[in-house]
């Protein structure tokens, strides 16, 4: 008799704990956006990926279409090789343009895909040829400063 | 002693670290008897029980129970042997997180596959034997010291052991409980046909119930005999012990240096 109320409480405890885990997974985490059961992989080389991380989102027109699966350095080209997992539902033309963008000024970096006009689609394992690297803030600033310096020199000539 | 011996202790030496507790002890516990092992506090009586139960190993000599040398048994052999022994600990050692009923049923559930109805009958029978059938729903914390001891006794004999060991069964009991526990020890032993070893320093109570008495002091057996022999013994140690005298062979003072020296009194010039 006593054991059943005990069992009941332990049951409540376990169910509550598992429920909390489910809430964490679905409501707090991104498991609900993981349901890209059918995916294919694409590759792209970037000369500089900035702060891009694996699991970063891949968006096209702002819609999430996949995630970065792996980042490594290509030992022959000395460029970053990014493997992307894309939802099977979305197909992109061969001349799609991959661009590393930043959400907001200091936000997370993601890959934006801009479709081209080619009639052939990218297949699993293909590489996106046209890429643009991340904008690195330091480069931007130094380039700006150099051009300023150039500008200020010219009138003195 | 004519009858067959259940427990034989031969030339047992035992030391904690380098402090000797038992120095060549020889004891024989014949089947069916209640034997008391007496001695002052800290003389190694409890150690003796632990040697019989296999919790400790003798440094030399051996303890034989029912023909088997305890310290030569393997783990399984020892556990099989312990199932046939019961031990009543000094303050009962009831499991405080279980009811009286579950305490007595504990070994039956652990060691047998008996159905719950039979266990129930057995538990009530054991509790009835110690006069506490009415307490089976209580928790150990709700029992008085004497009742707890009796419940523990019921638990000890739950599996009808061949050897029952009592570690200070009379410690801290009021006179009535003391008599009750004493009589139970005798009655249970005779009813179960078991052999009982009572380790105690309560002389008067044990003289009433036991068949044979061993006295241990300083790790050796100093006297033995039937209650009648012990009562009339004129050995100084036994006399002091039985009559509870303050000074005698067991000195009042712990061994120490010269009193006057300790107080820095200069000898008279």
């Amino acid at each position: 008799m006593k054991r059943t109320t005990l069992d009941l409480w332990v049951g409540i405890f376990v169910v509550a704990g598992l429920g909390a885990l489910a809430v964490l997974a679905l409501k707090v985490g991104n498991l609900s956006t993981y349901n890209m059961s059918e995916t294919y992989q694409l590759q792209a080389h970037f000369s500089n990926i900035g702060g891009l991380k694996s699991q970063a989102s891949i968006k096209s027109s702002g819609v999430l279409v996949g995630r970065v699966a792996q980042i490594s350095l290509d030992p022959e080209r000395y460029e970053a090789k990014v493997t992307m997992t894309i939802d099977k539902r979305y197909k992109f033309p061969k001349d799609t343009f991959a661009n590393i963008l930043t959400s907001g000024l200091l936000g997370e970096q993601y890959i934006g895909l801009i479709p081209g006009g080619d009639e052939a689609f990218l297949k699993a394992g293909d590489e996106i040829k046209k890429t643009q690297s991340a904008v690195v803030l330091e480069d931007l600033i130094s380039r700006f400063l150099y051009s300023k310096a150039e500008d200020s020199k010219q009138p003195n000539k | 002693m004519s009858s067959q011996a259940l427990v034989e202790i031969r030339d047992v030496n035992f030391a904690y670290d380098s402090r000797p507790i038992l120095k060549g002890v020889n004891l024989t516990f014949p089947k069916g008897k209640v034997i008391a092992v007496m001695g002052g506090s800290g003389c190694g009586k409890t150690t003796l029980l632990q040697l019989i139960g296999g919790a400790l190993k003798p440094s030399s000599g051996y303890v034989k129970v029912d023909g088997q040398v305890i310290h030569e048994l393997d783990h399984k052999g020892l556990y099989d042997m312990r199932r046939r022994m019961g031990m009543l600990f000094q303050f009962g050692a009831l499991f405080t997180d279980m009811s009286v009923y579950d305490n007595v049923a504990f070994q039956m559930r652990e060691h047998t596959d008996l159905p719950e109805e039979i266990i129930r009958d057995l538990v009530l029978m054991k509790l009835h034997a110690v006069g506490l059938r009415g307490t089976h729903n209580l928790m150990p914390a709700e029992l008085s010291g004497g009742m707890a001891r009796r419940v523990a006794l019921a638990r000890t004999v739950a599996l009808d052991p061949m050897l029952i060991m009592y570690d200070e069964p009379f410690a801290g009991l009021d006179p009535i409980s003391l008599t009750v526990v004493g009589n139970l020890i005798r009655r249970l032993n005779d009813a179960l046909g078991a052999t009982s070893v009572v380790v105690t320093h309560d002389v008067q109570e044990s003289l009433k119930i036991v068949d044979y008495i061993y006295f241990i002091a300083d790790g050796v057996v100093v006297a033995e005999g039937t209650p009648a022999e012990i009562s009339s013994s004129d050995k100084p140690f036994v006399h002091q012990f039985v009559h509870g005298e303050m000074d005698g062979p067991v000195p009042f003072h712990y061994p120490c240096g010269d009193y006057r020296q300790d107080l820095n009194l200069r000898p008279e010039r």
Binding site: R3, L6, D7, W9, V10, I12, F13, V14, A16, G17, L18, G19, A20, L21, V23, L24, A25, K27, V28, G29, N30, L31, S32, T33, Y34, K53, Q55, S57, L106, E108 | G53, A55, L78, Y79, D80, M81, R82, R83, M85, G86, M87, F89, Q90, F91, A93, L94, F95, T96, D97, F106, Q107, E110, H111
Partner: protein, 261 residues
């Protein structure tokens, strides 16, 4: 004098190493005698009640308050950068990765761990453990192992509850009281928290903490001198040792799990 100090230091080190060895052997014995805990699962269920269910209140309340504090503090900080919408992500990430597992384990150590030590220590002091041995019942299998597994099962569940309540507390403060946009609160949270990387790793942490806390608590209880001071000292040691172990292991695990970011 120096020799004397050196000698006592050496002695302490030797006895510490001896203790670690003994504790490891104890841990292996628990694992070895764990069969009973699963074959007779009601033994473990009983301990799940006393370690898990009895810790529920403190975990739920503490989780809610920690989440509320995170909501307040996080909002104040993020407001300076105009990034209030990232509040959900901040609250959830700190809870799921760090605060949930660590704080739940610390609370568990002081609530359930100390109780385990005291219980086992008292069982030993009142000869219940010896009585069990004399009944040919292995106390490691019957008493210690079920408590171990109950602790190991409870800890991740408690940690998940703590984090979930914390997120709820952060939501109450951030969205209901302060008025951060509800949509961005949840969507930023989902964008920021990765299931595998954050939630699963957090659960792994709390599992490891559960093993560590219960093993320490049981060892201290089993090893306690059978006296009142012995048991109270062991209870204190359980809380101190397991708290330090949790924080140390947290550092190690974090270094392994979240490195290279």
């Amino acid at each position: 004098m120096i020799v004397e100090n050196l000698r006592s230091l050496g002695h302490r080190i030797v006895s510490a190493v001896w203790r670690i060895g003994y504790a490891s052997r104890f841990f292996m014995m628990i694992l070895f005698y764990s069969g009973t805990s699963f074959r007779r699962f009601h033994l473990t269920i009983k301990e799940l009640f006393s370690s898990g269910v009895m810790s529920l209140i403190i975990i739920l309340v503490a989780g809610t308050f920690v989440g509320m504090v995170l909501g307040l503090q996080g909002y104040e900080t993020l407001k300076r950068y105009g990034a209030e919408s990232a509040l959900g992500s901040l609250v959830a990430l700190s809870l799921v990765r760090e605060l949930g597992p660590v704080l739940a384990a610390l609370l568990f150590a002081s609530r359930a761990g100390s109780a385990m030590t005291a219980e086992i220590g008292l069982m030993k002091a009142t000869e219940q453990i010896s009585a069990m041995e004399m009944m040919a019942i292995n106390p490691l299998a019957r008493v210690v192992a079920p408590r171990f597994w109950a602790g190991v099962i409870s800890m991740p569940l408690l940690s998940a509850l703590f984090s979930a309540m914390g997120v709820f507390g952060g939501y109450v403060v951030g969205v209901v009281l302060i008025g951060v946009d509800e949509g961005s609160f949840w969507s930023q949270m989902q964008a920021g928290v990765d299931f595998q990387h954050d939630i699963v790793n957090g659960m792994i942490k709390s599992f490891v903490f559960g093993v560590a806390v219960t093993a320490i608590a049981l060892f201290e209880g089993y090893d306690a001198p059978p006296t009142a001071e012995g048991v109270s000292g062991a209870t204190t040691r359980t809380v101190v040792e397991s708290s330090l172990t949790i924080l140390f292991l947290d550092f190690i695990l974090t270094a392994f799990m979240f490195q290279g970011e």
